[in-house]
């Protein structure tokens, strides 16, 4: 096509677009499988109410200071690394397993037992996130239906199952007593919540203003999760101009 400079000349594609506009509208495929929507929406209402309470406790006037939340999130993140390393190995991905192992070593030593993210800030070793849900994806298990879990939030059947398995396969369980491991689980849960609180504000704004926060949360989770898993392809990209 010739270069169009500043003057919006009436071109062939322009006419074609006009004709198309007249003929109808290409609809975007939703890519959403949500047979449990009614139940999910009830859970969503519960989660929203719960988040309001949490926000009041942690984000109100007596808000926990940002550094406290950050340290809590760091500590919890460090304790979660052995499980991520194990999952990377289950997926046959050696590089992220090695990177996370280095990260674990650096943060446990220089990061004072994981309180500080020395690996991320000084060694260029950010966390490589993974979980058993991803392992299942790598093994070829389908996504299943969308589910909103109580407290946890958006998920899919595959990811929810993965979460359950992650509790049992955590390598820390092999070296700690049951009592110690339960403490670790509590720390991870608390720390991860602290981490979420740090970032919740911006996501909240989008959802707060939305006419349907359930549907927005569902879309954001599914699109972002598929992207993170590498489960999207050029074929899935919507082209409103295509015939």
């Amino acid at each position: 096509m010739p270069r169009l400079l500043f003057i919006p000349r009436v071109s062939v594609p322009f006419l074609a677009a006009l004709l198309l506009a007249g003929c109808g509208v290409r609809e975007m495929p939703s890519g959403i499988f949500d047979p449990y929507e009614t139940a999910n929406r009830e859970t969503h209402a519960f989660n929203v109410a719960l988040s309001g309470v949490l926000a009041g406790a942690a984000g109100g006037d007596s808000a926990l200071p940002e550094p406290v939340l950050k340290v809590a999130a760091n500590f919890a993140g460090n304790l979660g690394l052995p499980n991520k390393i194990f999952n990377s190995l289950l997926q046959g991905r050696v590089e992220p397993a090695v990177m996370n192992t280095l990260r674990l070593l650096v943060n446990t030593t220089f990061g004072v037992g994981g309180l500080f993210d020395a690996a991320g800030t000084s060694f260029g070793l950010p966390e490589h996130y993974t979980d058993f849900g991803e392992t299942l994806y790598v093994w070829g298990v389908g996504e299943g239906a969308y589910i909103e879990l109580p407290i946890i939030g958006p998920s899919t059947e595959r990811d929810a199952f993965g979460r359950v398995i992650d509790v049992f396969i955590d390598p820390l369980g092999a070296v700690l007593t049951v009592h110690q491991h339960n403490k670790v689980r509590l720390i991870r849960l608390t720390g991860n919540t602290a981490g979420n609180l740090r970032y919740a504000g911006s996501v909240t704004a989008i959802l707060n203003e939305s006419a349907d926060s359930y549907a927005q949360a569902r879309l954001i989770y599914l699109q972002n999760r598929r992207f993170a898993l590498g489960a999207t392809s050029d074929e899935d990209v919507f082209d409103p101009y295509a015939q």
């Binding site: 000349r9 509208v25 996130y129 909240t204 006419a211 993170a228 990209v237 919507f238 082209d239």
Partner: protein
């Protein structure tokens, strides 16, 4: 709803803030008028200029109302608002009259630019670097990296098409989440609230703008 926690643990996006990212992206959205000649260098130059232009608005010290009007102008000139609006309305666009479509498109454009324009404080100091572009389906995908203050950089994709007769962007994708889909759901929900009454929905949309 005061706060909603959405744990997406594998997502760098949630850790970056979807809102801030999208706001920055939308506000910095200035794309070349000559996409036929779009390449890495020209796209980079144009977006750099765009960043400067948006910063000018942000740092102008003008009233917020005035800034929102300025953002509106950016959308009108650089986004294919007609296509974005029509796509977000979905099947309802088929039954709409020409007058309804025109009213909807205008209301939608204002809603969209104001929605993201209002969040300008989050992208003060933002920087976007174009890293490349490639043809995709009938359009171009321009890749860029966004640096927001105090956040780790993240990838931002711009879909640019010349199908409207001008080179305009029609979608922005951040870590897999795209504007077109998000607004399609939003508009669908607003229409459902009015039980499919498009005129009532347009009035609601105007109220949000």
């Amino acid at each position: 709803m005061k706060m909603y926690l959405t744990p997406m643990p594998n997502s760098r996006l949630t850790r970056r803030s979807f809102g801030g990212a999208l706001a920055g992206a939308m506000a910095l959205a200035i794309l070349p008028r000559a996409a036929a000649a779009l390449d890495d260098a020209s796209a980079r130059a144009l977006i750099d200029r765009a960043v400067g232009e948006v910063h000018e608005i942000i740092n102008s010290g003008r009233s917020e109302a005035r800034m929102l009007t300025d953002f509106e102008g950016i959308f009108t000139r650089y986004a294919d608002v007609t296509t974005i609006a029509r796509t977000t309305l979905g099947a309802a666009a088929r039954q709409a009259t020409a007058a309804q479509m025109s009213a909807y498109t205008r209301a939608f454009g204002i809603y969209l630019s104001h929605k993201y324009g209002r969040r300008f404080r989050e992208f003060i100091g933002a920087r976007i670097e174009v890293t490349g572009s490639r043809p995709l389906k009938s359009f171009y995908e321009v890749r860029s990296v966004a640096y927001l203050q105090g956040e780790a950089p993240f990838e931002l994709l711009w879909y640019v098409s010349s199908a409207s007769g001008r080179d305009l962007f029609f979608n922005i994708v951040i870590e897999g989440v795209d504007l077109l889909n998000s607004e399609r759901i939003e508009m669908g929900a607003m229409l459902d609230r009015r039980r499919g009454d498009l005129d009532a929905m347009i009035a609601d949309l105007r109220a949000r703008g």
